[in-house]
Symmetry: C2
């Protein structure tokens, strides 16, 4: 640093998810200076976030400090800041938030800001139906679930106890399937012995899917297998069920009201709000309709990768799915495009190499699909396990996560059952605020209400 006289081109990367980090790392040997900006200080392994939400893993086990990941990459620096907009004419990224205003000039820009929950116009639902996007989300869902069990343990009214132990997951994609399976396991195995007044097996987990089947992106036979597995674990799977309202302690489905304590939103995502400041065509989910080389129309120096983009497959014109392999492959491609531009070499269109899809349902149960290959059961679960541990960033995390899972697998225990933080929980309050007997009745000490 400081030995070259002409400044090197500055590549600003917004977002330190799979796309952003891989883009930065792919530029390690390029003659550029890289700045990675993220509003959080850690790269998060989102595919395992449901494990944090269900007390299986600790937050630090699926997250790595961005600075630590890039510490040895000498042409990269990391900035913790909120990006509030992009001016593609002036070629600056605008910073804001707690760190105060600021600007970052760029020569190349890689946007990799991912997705946020899409409540399809019902933003008021967000408070009651948390999505699974950040560590704070996952810790809050964990807190709500564990608090619901604690409230049920104190509850003397059988009907209200049942409602406290009703958890609803909205959306039957991989996240919804994984979350509802993990919730069912938590109650049937992990908590079974720990409560006296309630039987945690009395937990009711309802998975609500608007379409005709869960795992709609998979082959129909695998959807069927997943449904059977979920039902055998005690999950109520409702398909073609339309959520019309969500409030404190309830989910409304047309004329039916489902009273419950915790609602998890896994029904849809849209691109992060930053795509609007790029002034380019977006799809209905606010995703950027990128050019074949992943740049944006009219600005070959600006690239978008991952969940915030809509990339149409050249063959069948179907958009690529919002999964991490797409983000990582696009990131490598745009890093190459930056290098090509500096070398005055032509650009090439991005081609996606399908790595297949997988979803875990629970202990020893998963489904996977790669082209004509379809797999389920224990082998699919092992494959899921190894792929997910392999892609975790940080050797220590890989090792600790393997260890934690091995321990959970053999003991049916989970290590991260912590209730922390102080946020109020309106649904439990709504369900338990009615007056109750002065003392805990003795008969409440016996297990009741087995499923």
């Amino acid at each position: 640093m400081g030995t070259h006289t002409a400044p090197r081109p500055h590549v600003v990367i917004v977002g330190a998810g799979f796309g952003g980090l891989i883009a930065a790392q792919s530029l390690a040997d390029a003659p550029v200076d890289v700045t990675v900006v993220d509003r959080s200080n850690h790269h998060l392994f989102q595919p395992l976030l449901y494990q944090v939400a269900t007390a299986g893993l600790s937050p630090a086990e699926i997250a790595a400090p961005v600075r630590a990941v890039l510490a040895d990459q000498h042409n990269a620096r990391v900035l913790l800041a909120d990006v509030v907009g992009v001016d593609t004419e002036k070629r600056v990224v605008k910073l804001g938030g707690d760190g105060g205003p600021g600007e970052l000039k760029y020569d190349f820009l890689v946007m990799a800001t991912g997705a946020r929950n899409n409540y399809f116009g019902h933003d008021a639902w967000a408070e009651h139906a948390l999505g699974l996007k950040t560590i704070d989300d996952a810790v809050e869902i964990r807190r709500r679930v564990l608090l619901a069990y604690e409230a049920a343990e104190r509850e003397t009214d059988a009907e209200r106890r049942k409602q406290l132990l009703t958890f609803v997951v909205i959306g039957g994609g991989p996240t919804g399937v994984e979350m509802s399976g993990a919730l069912a396991e938590l109650s049937r195995h992990v908590l079974a012995k720990d409560f006296r007044s309630i039987s945690p097996k009395a937990t009711r987990v309802v998975l609500i899917e608007a379409g005709p089947r869960v795992l709609g992106g998979f082959d129909e036979t695998l959807s069927e297998k997943a449904t059977v597995a979920l039902r055998s674990m005690g999950v109520d799977v409702w398909v073609q069920a339309m959520v019309t309202d969500i409030g404190p302690g309830f989910v409304q489905l047309g004329g039916d009201r489902l009273t419950c304590s915790v609602v998890v939103w896994a029904a849809g995502v849209m691109a992060s709000e930053l795509t609007e400041s790029l002034n380019v065509p977006l799809d209905r989910g606010k995703r950027v309709l990128v050019e074949p080389d992943c740049s944006i129309p009219g600005h070959p120096e600006v690239f978008c990768v991952g969940d915030m983009t809509s990339f149409l497959h050249t063959e069948d014109k179907k958009p690529l799915p919002g999964v991490s392999p797409v983000a990582m492959q696009q990131a490598r491609h745009v890093a190459q495009m930056v290098v090509n531009t500096l070398r005055k070499e032509p650009r090439s269109p991005f081609r996606y190499l399908d790595k297949g899809s997988m979803a875990t349902i629970g202990r020893s149960q998963a489904v996977m699909e790669l082209g004509p290959i379809k797999m389920d059961g224990f082998l699919a679960w092992l494959a899921w396990l190894f792929v997910h541990v392999w892609y975790l960033i940080g050797y220590r995390n890989r090792f600790v996560v393997m260890l934690t899972w091995a321990w959970s697998y053999f003991t049916y225990q989970r290590g991260a059952r912590l209730i922390t933080g102080q946020r109020v929980m309106p649904s439990v309050k709504a369900l338990t605020s009615a007056p109750r007997p002065a003392a805990l009745p003795k008969e409440a000490e016996k297990p009741v209400a087995r499923a």
Copy 2:
């Protein structure tokens, strides 16, 4: 359960710290029903809380769900509830808080509610100088420290950057020594490579002690050794320094003002607020002056153990220290007193068997003292390590903590460097809210301001 006709005596234990948990476990074979009430769902290994505050360990590694700990003890149940008072005449514990009002009747009561921070009348300081009592405290300190580094990385003014990297620990007891040592290590080893614009080695850690030496409860030679070790790690040790005010971004010491970003309070504790509702004599720190058998005056069915008590040693009339061995030994004693009472056997006075004291200063550095034996350096550190891992509750936690430490020891990395949560940080805001240049200056990329 349910096979006996006459109800068994009900022992209510308030608090699931060292005292409360050991009391419950010591009653496993007694002919009583035990209810453990705590406002948090986990037993916390407080001696390692400073490790969470400095990103060395994850919260779940030093905490165990109370329910899981007592799951196999069939005469015990666990209640997550806020205890708001005790009526020793009616023999009821009053519940309140989020779970709504309620009462718990008892035949025997064991109070083990521990200590809270004592700001000696300056409660307004609490917001700026966090104590180390709960996981939320530790995570918030970790967040503040890591955010201060991030703000310093963006800061272009050298003076403000220095202030952002000034951390103050108030109180030179074991907690203060451990905390300041760990903060110094965090900056010198862990973060050294990760920042570009700042040198984390420029961090200034100031340990402020009002008395003439740190570790006042230890032998003078050990205080001296700890001071030398702390100074060699870069900690400013100030003794006979009186804090007169604390606000956002500063600590006032008489006429001197120390500008800083993070303040940790380790200067003193007092008993939890519940001791006042017992209507018995308290000491200046609101601690219950217990009888020789650890019961309270006039109520032989009510016991108090641990940090909330002041137990005068029969020999020298000095109060016992607020350490976990006292709480655990008292807990075993009161469990025996309950059994004695049921058997109509006489009670005996509690006798404390001194297990010695230890404090760690940093990597390979600790001091310990047991009667005439005094030790420091690597051997004391090994002893400290094994004692602390040994007493951790949960096999998995012991194993994971050993592993995490071994990993940290050899790699100089810490696994839990997460900034989570949304609380504002007034001190950083006060230090960085002034206007700054529009772009990050290029020269800021070189390391500056080495200590």
